[in-house]
Symmetry: D2
Subunit: 338 residues, 4 copies
C-alpha cells in the first residue's frame, strides 16, 4: 500500500541517478570545490536572483540548521523561533548542543510575527538574558502553512530594524513557492532573508540541502564551520551533481508542484467523502478520525499520528514527488468502504 | 592525466549505482531503520564477528570521529591521540568544538604505543588536568602505516587496564586489513576495540562510514547523539543500500586489495627508476623530489604536497579502487622522461 | 532610603568577616581541600542528614546550576524546568551554552508537578527529541512560593520511576525551610533530591553556594567538572571559612528566619493600608500599583519592576538578613503619605 | 613550618579585610555595577594608561582565561599558546570545553615567539584546519620567566600583521612588572595587548582577577559572556572593593615587589650553600635535589614536585606577599643542617 507517511521515503527522482551515472568515473575536486558544485551554485544564484551569495551543500536539514545557526551566533546569542519550529521539537537539542538557546514564541499558524519579535526583545534586554540575534522561520512551516509576501516583508523589516538575522528553513521551500496560495516569488527570498536553505531531501534528491548565504557579513568562513561540525563531506561533488541536475529545466519546482497537486487532489477527495481535513496550502494535510479508524489508517497507509485525544486521533497525510492519483484513489476507496 | 591525489575523487564503484537503481522507487523506512540498513548491519557483524554490536551509518569520517568521541566522553574527559592523528590536524577543531581536549603523544610511525598511554596518564592525574578516557588510533594511519596484531593487542590491554576506551578510525581499514604486511584478522578488530568505523568514502562508496559499537556500555543512545550532532539523515537507507552492496561477495576487501596492489606496483616502478619512496604497507606513498620536479608532478598528477623543505619537496601518491596499471605507467613514463 | 530590591545588596553578616579575620595569615591547602572546607562540609552533612554525600563550594547560583546540570547530562539529554525557572529566564542561556536543552513546562505557582514530568516524557520519547534526564526545581521558587513535603515526595517518586535526577536550586533554601508555611524538614531534602544547593549569596554570605551531591552515581568527578567550567577557585578556603561560620549555631537559619519575619511584617503592614499584596510564604512580595506610584516606589526604594501593564505596574519587594522593622516602617509611612 | 608551595595559600593582605569592613552594611548595586567596581576600574585604567578600555572583575584565572578566549573566538577559531601554557596543561580542558582548540607551539623559555606564530599560520591555512585567531601568553610565565619589552613589541606586531588578538594571562603580572629584570612599563601593556588580566589571587587578594579589554572590537558584550559562563557574581562589589583597595597607594605593586625580593633573597641564600637554583626573574625558583632530600623538603616545606627523574627530583619554591626573610632563613638552615 502506498504510504502517506512523509515526503522522503523514496530514494530519488530518476534523473538524479542518471546524473550520477554520467559523472561516475571522472576524477573530481573534493570537498565541494568541483565543477558540478560550482555549476549548481550558479544555477541556484540565477534562479533565486542572488548573484553575490555564497552557496554551500550539506547533508541534512537538522545539520544545516544547527551549523548555520551556530555560525551566525556568538556564545550568548540566541535564535527566536516558533515553539512549533523544527529546531525546537524534532532535532534532539541540536541547536542547544551547539551552545545556543532557542527562545520560543507562540506564533500564529506556525509562523513568527513581527509582534513576536518585539515581545522577545522586550524580555531579552540585558546581560541576564540571552541576546536575540536571529529569527528562524520555516516556509512551508511544520504544519504546512506558508508565509505571504507581506508577512515575510514585515518580518524582514522588523529584523533589519533590530539588527537581527532572518534565516529561512526551506526543507519544503519548493512546496511553499509552488503552492497555488503562494504570492512569494523565487527572487524575493534572497531579498528578505540573510540566509535560507533549499531542501533537497524532501523534494526528490537522494541526499542534500543547499544553503544560500546572502548577507555578506556572513561570508568567508562557513566552510570552516562546516568542517568544524563534521558537515563537510569529502565527495562533496555528490551533492553538486544532484543539485545541478534538479535545477535543470525547473525540475525542482515541477516536482514540488506535482507534490502540491497531489495534496490538493487528496484534500478534495477527502472532502467529497465528508472528511474534515484542514485547508493546507501545501503537501501536509491533517484530519481527525475516531480512534479505531485512525489506527487502522496509520497501519495501512503508514500515516504519522499527530495528536492523540483518546477518543479521536489527528493523523497527517503527506504527498511527495512519487505520489500519483492512483495512490490517492486507493486511500479514498479504503475510506469509502471502511 | 590520472590524479594520484587521493582515494576519494571518483564517485563510486558501479555496483553501488546498480544497487541504488534497484532500490529506487520503493517506499522505505527512514532514519536508518530500513531493511537495507538492517541487512548491511548483519553483514558487517558477520564479517567482523561481532554479533552483539550496534552498527550505525554516518556521512563522513570527521563526523563519525567527532560524534563518537563526544558520545564516549563526559565534559572533563579527553581523548589521547598521536599528534599526527587526523582528529588533531585535519578536522578544524571538530573534537574540541564538541568540548573535548585531544591530548597528543608523539607516537611511533604514526601509531600510539602503550608507553604513550602510560605517560599520558602520569601527567593527567588529578582535577587540574583532563581525565584521559579513550585512545584514538587510525588503521591504516595518516601516513599509511598499519598496526600489527601484537601492537593492537598490547594497546587494547593497556586500555583495559586503565579503564580507557579504544576507538579505531578505519577510514582506510580496508587498506589496512588487505595489506600484504598485515597480520590482523577481520574478526580481531571487535575483540580489540570498543568501537571502530569502516570507511566507505575512501574505498569505493559514494558516501558513508559504518560505525561499529562493540562495548555494551556504549549501546543504547548513539542515535540520539547522531541526531543531536546533525549526523542522522532522513534517507538513511541510502547508506544502508551502499553498505549492503559493498559487503556482498567481499567487494569491500577486493577494492581495498586492488588499491594496495596498485600502490605496491607504483612503489616497485618508482624504485626501478631509483626514486627513494617509503616502504608503505598500504596505498599512501611518500617521496622527495627536488623542488621544480615536485611542483611539476603536483601540477600534472594532482599530488598533495606533504613537506616543503625549500630545496626539496615531499609529495604523496595515493592509489584508489579506480587506479589501473596503465595510470601508474603514465606517471612512471613521465618521470623517466623528465 | 533602605532598598527592597533584593536580598544580596549588602556584603555579609558580621560574623563572616570575623571568621575571615581569624583565618587570615594561616597557610592553608588550596582548591577547597583545606580544613575549613572539610569542617563546613561535615556541618552541612550533619544538618541535612546526608553523611554519604559530597559537598562542593562554588561562587554563584548560575554557575552552580550550569556546572551541575552539565555534569549530570550527556550531550543529548535535557533538563525539565518551569518556564519561570531561573535557568530558563535569567541566566543568559548558560545551560544551553553548556550544550543542553531546557525543556520547559508551565508548572503551577512556579512549581513543577508530577503531571508536568509525565507530559514531558510523552512528548520526548525517541531519538528525534531530547532525552529528559533530570528535573530542575527551585525552593523557594522564583516567585517566592514553596514546595510542600507532599509535593516534593511525589515529584521525587515520579523522578525515580522514570530514572530522572531531581535537582533543587536552593538559592533561597533558607527562606523555604524557615517559612512558617513550610512542612519540609532539613533532613528531608537529601532523601528527596539527587543533588541540591544551599544558597549563601542570598542569605548573608559574601560569596558562595554549597552544592550537595547525594546520589552516589554522581560522585567522584565533580571537581574535574568544576575546574573544566572555571568554577574552582585557588583560595577555595574562602568559601569553606564562610560556610563553616554560617552553619555554626544555626546562624544560616536564623538569618533566613529573620528575612521571612520581615517579609511577613511588611505583608501585614501593606495589607493594613489596603495594598493587595500576594500571600507569599517567603521573602518575595508582589503588588500592583498604578503607574506613577509604582515608578515613584521603584525610584525611592529600589524595587524591581516585575510586570508592566501600562496603566498599572507590578513591583517586587524583597527583604533580607539586613532588613529591620524600621526599614519597613519607612516604606509604609511613605505609602501612607503618598 | 612556612610553606613555599605557592603564592595563594594565605587569605589576603590585611588592608583588604579592612576595606570589606568599611563597605559592609551599605546597600550596593549588584553584578559589578557598584561604585567600588567603577572606582577600581578607573584606578586600573589610570595606572595602565588605557582610558578607553573596559574592565571586568572575575573570580579566578582559569575562569578568566576560558571566558575571554571563548568570547574572542568563533566556533572554528583557535588560540595559539606555548605547550607549557597554563590553559594547555592545568585547566582541565576548560578552553576546549568551551569549544576551541589550543594550538600549541614549543616556545622558548615558556614564551611564544613571532616565529611560533608564523609557523602556526603556515600549518593552519585552510578550512581543514582551525583558524588561528589569537595568541595567549603569560607574563610572568608558568616557569617564572618574563617577556622583555622588545619581545612583547615584536609579538604584538606579528599579531597585528596577521589580524590576531594578543591576550596576556597576568595571573602574576605584578611579579613580572616589578621584577628587577623587567623593562616593560605598566603603560606599555595596553598598547601591546588586545586584552590582559591582572591577577589578584596570586598577589594578596582574597579572590578575583581584573580583566582589561583594550581592543574596541571586543567591547560591548563581555558581561553577557560572563553571565553565560556562570562567571558573573551577584555581589560583584566584593571584587570591586578588593581591587579598589589593592590599587590604592601602589599596594599591588608593593606586594609583588616584596614577593620578588623574597625570591631573590632565597635564590642568593640557596646559592651561598651551593644549591644550583635557576636564575628566575620572579617568584618561582626551581632546583634539583637528590631524591630523598627532595622528598623531605616537599614534606617539610610543602614544595611542589616539578620533575621526577627517579634519582633526582626538581622542586619548585614560590614566595608570596606573606613570605618574610625569617621564613627563608628557616628553610636555609634546614638545608644547611640536612
Amino acid at each position: 500500500m502506498f504510504s502517506f507517511r512523509n515526503d522522503y521515503n523514496v530514494l530519488c527522482h530518476e534523473n538524479i541517478i542518471k546524473a550520477l551515472i554520467n559523472a561516475n568515473g571522472k576524477q573530481l575536486d573534493c570537498y565541494g570545490l568541483d565543477e558540478y558544485s560550482k555549476e549548481a551554485s550558479e544555477r541556484i544564484k540565477d534562479i533565486f536572483d542572488c548573484k553575490n551569495s555564497e552557496v554551500h551543500f550539506l547533508c541534512g536539514g537538522t545539520q544545516t540548521n544547527m551549523v548555520m545557526i551556530s555560525y551566525m551566533l556568538r556564545d550568548y546569542e540566541a535564535v527566536l523561533a516558533c515553539s512549533s519550529g523544527h529546531i525546537n521539537i524534532h532535532e534532539t537539542g541540536s541547536v542547544e548542543g551547539s551552545g545556543h538557546k532557542i527562545y520560543t514564541c507562540k506564533g500564529r499558524d506556525g509562523k513568527v510575527t513581527p509582534q513576536d519579535i518585539r515581545d522577545a526583545l522586550i524580555v531579552n534586554c540585558n546581560e541576564h538574558t540571552v541576546k536575540i540575534k536571529m529569527v528562524y522561520i520555516s516556509n512551508s512551516t511544520e504544519i504546512g502553512t506558508i508565509y505571504s509576501y507581506q508577512e515575510l516583508k514585515e518580518l524582514s523589516e522588523e529584523c533589519k530594524k533590530n539588527n537581527l538575522y532572518l534565516f529561512i528553513d526551506g526543507a519544503r521551500l519548493g512546496a511553499a513557492l509552488t503552492s497555488k496560495y503562494n504570492d512569494v516569488k523565487r527572487e524575493d527570498i534572497a531579498k528578505i532573508a540573510d540566509a535560507f536553505y533549499i531542501g533537497g531531501t524532501k523534494n526528490g534528491l537522494m541526499i542534500g540541502e543547499a544553503l544560500v548565504i546572502v548577507n555578506k557579513e556572513l561570508h568567508g568562513f562557513f566552510r570552516h564551520e562546516m568542517k568544524n561540525k563534521g558537515a563537510m563531506i569529502a565527495k562533496g561533488y555528490l551533492l553538486g551533481i544532484e543539485f545541478n541536475e534538479i535545477f535543470k529545466d525547473d525540475l525542482y519546482f515541477k516536482l514540488a508542484s506535482h507534490t502540491n497537486e497531489m495534496a490538493y487532489y487528496l484534500k478534495d477527495e477527502l472532502r467529497k467523502i465528508n472528511i474534515d481535513v484542514n485547508d493546507s496550502p501545501t503537501n501536509q494535510l491533517f484530519a481527525f478520525f475516531e480512534r479505531k479508524k485512525a489506527l487502522d489508517l496509520i497501519d495501512k497507509f503508514g500515516l504519522e499520528l499527530w495528536t492523540d485525544l483518546d477518543d479521536k486521533i489527528e493523523v497527517r497525510f503527506v504527498t511527495s514527488f512519487k505520489t500519483e492519483k492512483e495512490d490517492v484513489d486507493v486511500l479514498i476507496n479504503y475510506l469509502k468502504n471502511y
